[in-house]
Symmetry: C2
Subunit: 416 residues, 2 copies
Amino acid sequence: MLAEIITIGDEILIGQIVDSNSAFIGKELNDIGVDVYQITSISDDKKHILNALDEAKQRVDIVIITGGLGPTKDDITKHTICEYFDDKLIQNDEVLVHVEKLFAKYISTPISDVNKQQAMVPSTSRVLMNQYGTAPGMWLEKDNTVFISMPGVPYEMKGLMKSQVLPGLQKRFDRPYILHKTVLTYGMGESAIAEKIESWEDNLPSFIKLAYLPNLGRVRLRLSARGKNKAVLEEAIKINVDQLETLIGDIIVGFEENETIEKKIGSLLVDQGKTLAIAESCTGGKIAQSFTINAGASAYFKGAVVTYATASKIDVLGIDPAVIKEYTVTSAEVAEAMALAAKDKFKSDYAIATTGNAGPTKGDGDVEVGTVFVAIATPDSVFSKKYVFSNLRERTIGKAVNKAFELILGVLTKNL
Amino acid sequence: MLAEIITIGDEILIGQIVDSNSAFIGKELNDIGVDVYQITSISDDKKHILNALDEAKQRVDIVIITGGLGPTKDDITKHTICEYFDDKLIQNDEVLVHVEKLFAKYISTPISDVNKQQAMVPSTSRVLMNQYGTAPGMWLEKDNTVFISMPGVPYEMKGLMKSQVLPGLQKRFDRPYILHKTVLTYGMGESAIAEKIESWEDNLPSFIKLAYLPNLGRVRLRLSARGKNKAVLEEAIKINVDQLETLIGDIIVGFEENETIEKKIGSLLVDQGKTLAIAESCTGGKIAQSFTINAGASAYFKGAVVTYATASKIDVLGIDPAVIKEYTVTSAEVAEAMALAAKDKFKSDYAIATTGNAGPTKGDGDVEVGTVFVAIATPDSVFSKKYVFSNLRERTIGKAVNKAFELILGVLTKNL
């Protein structure tokens, strides 16, 4: 069962927005055993859309189209789909009532004719009601290929996928079973892992594929098994992951598909009944944000101080100015003092602190650009590590955050 | 001059990573007058890669390929390109020396045969040295179409684009001129803007295209002009943007291509010689991070406190527990007290504070999920606003952050 995702919108091609919708759709389709064969991003151009729809029909059974359904003049998807299906637009009363309700409830400007156009749909389409917006989804079929059109606004598209598209596809198609297992590692590079597991990889059964997904010092390994018999796949994945664990168990953080090192840290803290606080300088709030974006962070996360200016380290965290003067603001001593101060201020059990210079120019400190100190305060001690990353600002911030996660994870897993 | 971007890697199709590389490449190509006609994401599969290369050759002049150049077994791009060009791999001594140097300098594990394979390149390719990694870029040509292959690791790809690919394409091709102008607005929805500017939009010259890019309550308008004469395009863009400003000048934040509301706030603060501090609850560090990710934030950004737990609002910010008890933690009073406390603690001129419940369940407060109070402290006053967003956690956080930006921007622009 193959699918193609077609995203429509000049803004993707000229790089003004990143296409995150396709990743979401790909993942959700995979979860129900539909394989994404290709993702195609094209412009708001009638001929190009018509071509892309026709080419996709040759390749796949399911075509998922996003984008170009807004009320403005540059959005031409609906009219083009109508032309492709040799159909005409008719008013859908249910959608019209829904649009009117949304305007009455959420939108301060009065409803206009442009907005009412959202209720016009191809006469042969099945309407997929869009709970979160005015543009409905549409389900059409041609020569046994299913075409589904959704708005490009991420939360509207996600609502439609979950409530209508996925259930609809599960009902419409018999699907093979696809099982993914992700192994999240830390602290070892891609090629070093590859060498350690080479003979294991060579001996994987042919229905299991392995992929390496490296990102700022963390490598995920993904095993994908495909077949008709779910039990056989599960057993094969289990055996091979067990073998993998004997080879590289020391660098494996977790196995959950959506596992992240910050979620793992959170669940360890909750299990151990402990709390965390953070004092960030160069990472600027990114560590705090990584924890708080996950629901449930309040169970272990007390809070954070972002002391961006050197004066704030003194004024807000109460770091001794003499320590900063003696060791400079980017030093192990200051990082450790920040971690202890955060632990103390927030009355937490653990604390993470960062101080460094992510560049592009030398700031308050006088260290090399890319230098970061990460400190961890535990219930009874404090320690820090020095790292020298690159002169690429975002990369240095990202790596410093990951190193902070690694260090606190190392401490917490020792408690197990 | 048309280009196609082909990204290779199962991890994109199954949604394990978001394809941010294509957005970067699209933007950079546009800047030098190369139009991206299509972005195609395909699997690590030989037949699929060969097909995609051949189809792209029919469509475009430049094919940019990323991904699949790692040292591991699932990376087959190089061998497949070699087959497509009916070529063979030969060792490139310059790359080998570079790989050996990188290992000696940055990598703790010894260099292996797998790593040395990175120095093997198709004999007819021009090698593009990769400053940041072991996999070189490759430039090949077939029937007047240029094929460029780069690794998928974002910072390696970006380095190659800037240092070699873009200069190479500028030299190789005569290009038409493409001029983009982005207008960043806030506080008005897409269709309300569309109605206000309808007749202006209808009267745009045919060589200027308009796109609406909505995101969490901010709408960007992008004008794209294309032609041979740069001066004509610039003049036409200027006239039309001036007209646009007379229509919706009150909601326009800026015109820079990479303008963001947080950058605009930063530059206003710097111009006015003022500083900012933040106290975040439900937004969890995201406001701080939005400012600090930009280089130069230290010129105006003093720091932030993320008081996630209610106790931290008392312990760290010094909020009067009686105020929290009387009004609840999610209230205008607490938001304003947080803003004043942040201004005081960080000795800043302005402060932003947020308190709310992003869900999914009711937290320390007893308000409806999605309720957020945003407060702004100015040098001589404080005020707050209440918002009720949805029960979608990430969306509520994102909208609260944008509302905070809107409020502080409104205050700062009044000083102009």
